[in-house]
């Protein structure tokens, strides 16, 4: 049975612009639920350049992608937005009463008065490794993420990759798998040193099999693999495998956004510059995903768009209510909401 959640606003995408929207909406007493395909907040800042310095955020001469994300999370904490990670929004439908029904690929239904699309450059999706015929095994014995640990219990697991995801899942699945083989092109890893040390210790104890090489071919039938063929420095090898987890990084795809019936312009959503509303009233688009004359794809622009969008969203959720413009420096009402007065 699917889970049903009712809220004021669903924000699709927990990148910097979506996160700041929760602040502006929170000041107007609107409750947000976030949905993101990634497993953590930050969008491009967290996924593509967490350690890189950004120099054009007002008031921060320099801030890294991860630090900006952490600060945004702290800034919106008083409004307690709820996060639903590792799921993709597949559809949005307008209901007869003007509200929206959203469905995710994790079998959840969200009901919201307002939808804010902050989908940036699109949804992050795993890269498929260069192995012929791999599609036939996907979601049956080849997975790009672990949703249920139990799917790996008692299995012969092969994990490919040298980053944090590959190492984390090697450590997490080793105790429950029947056998676990980690494969990486070289013996140098991009993952946290602590995980690499733990993995190497397990290799030393004979609990993990580590091989330097690449996957060349998969054997199996009816969606179920039984062997992974590897090209290794020591020659070609065939490893028994009932589960394969390739971690080849992520790529951004526009994805289902294109099918939501909104007016698009070159893979971006057309909005007005007064409210940042799309061609469907009640659905807004802010940040890199939107387009209007003069648009700059900068975090700064998304913050501005979030503030104007929030005013318009409030007019939809509380029709007829007069919204008084207030400053956070001087309004005790706003300060109470922020928990500082």
């Amino acid at each position: 049975m699917s889970t049903e959640i009712t809220t004021d606003v669903v924000v699709i995408g927990a990148g910097p612009c979506g996160l700041f929207a929760a602040f502006e909406l929170g000041l107007l007493d609107l409750k947000c639920h976030f949905i993101d395909i990634l497993d953590r907040p930050g969008g491009q800042c967290a996924e593509l350049y967490p350690e890189k310095p950004i120099y054009d955020i007002p008031g921060f001469p320099v801030v890294t992608g991860q630090h900006l994300t952490d600060n945004l999370m702290a800034q919106i904490a008083p409004f307690a937005p709820e996060f639903h990670f590792n799921r993709m929004v597949n559809s949005i439908e307008k209901q007869a009463d003007g509200s929206f029904r959203l469905a995710t690929d994790a079998d959840e239904i969200f009901h919201a008065k307002v939808v804010v699309i902050a989908a940036g450059g699109g949804s992050f999706q795993p890269k498929r490794p260069p192995v012929e015929g791999i599609e036939a095994f996907e979601n049956q014995s080849v997975f790009y993420s672990v949703r249920k640990m139990d799917d790996f219990r008692g299995q012969d697991v092969v994990i490919v990759g040298g980053g944090d995801s590959a190492l984390d899942w090697t450590l997490n699945l080793q105790p429950i798998a029947r056998s676990l083989t980690l494969v990486h092109r070289r013996a140098v890893f991009k993952a946290a040193p602590a995980s690499v040390n733990k993995m190497q210790a397990l290799v030393g104890e004979g609990k993990i099999n580590f091989l330097t090489g690449q996957i060349a071919k998969l054997d199996g039938a009816d969606g179920q693999i039984n062997h992974v063929h590897l090209i290794t420095d020591a020659g070609d090898l065939s490893v028994p495998a009932t589960r394969l987890l390739p971690f080849f990084g992520l790529t951004m795809k526009l994805g289902p956004v294109a099918d939501w019936g909104l007016e698009l312009n070159d893979n971006t959503i057309v909005v007005d510059t007064e409210k940042f509303q799309t061609s469907v009233p009640g659905i807004f688009a802010i940040g890199d995903i939107n387009s209007y004359p003069g648009k700059l794809k900068l975090i700064l622009s998304g913050f501005h768009e979030a503030a104007l969008m929030a005013q318009a969203a409030k007019a939809i959720t509380s029709p007829g209510e007069r919204v008084v413009f207030q400053y956070t420096t001087s309004s005790t009402k706003l300060q109470k909401k922020l928990g500082v007065a």
Partner: protein
């Protein structure tokens, strides 16, 4: 200085190269079909190009990170490089590259 870039459709474009710029930046800013999703952070492989013989050997060798990424593409060839890792300089004047299919935008 000039670089000659063949796009995925097979059309060759002569682009004004800028000393010190990344080849990817020139290709992107001239409006060719290159995704270059990570903006040159060597983490996406969507700026993959094939460098023509004679020019390939002039380039400094790829870093381990670049090699890892190239191995993640479906269309790697012996003369594959990530164009964001090729810094333009006068000695690359006239370099010929071809955009790999996997560099195309959606």
């Amino acid at each position: 200085m000039k670089i000659l870039v063949t796009d995925q459709a097979g059309d060759e474009h002569e682009l004004e190269g800028l000393d010190g710029w990344r080849t990817m930046e020139v290709i992107r800013d001239w409006g060719l079909n290159i995704k270059a999703e990570c903006g040159g952070a060597c983490s996406c492989a969507t700026c993959h190009v094939y460098v023509e013989d004679g020019w390939f050997d002039k380039l400094p060798p790829p870093s381990d990170d670049e090699e890892d990424l190239l191995y993640s593409t479906l269309d790697k060839k012996p003369n594959s490089r990530l164009s964001c890792q090729i810094l333009l300089s006068e000695d690359l004047d006239g370099m010929r590259v071809t955009l790999a299919p996997s560099s195309a935008k959606e």
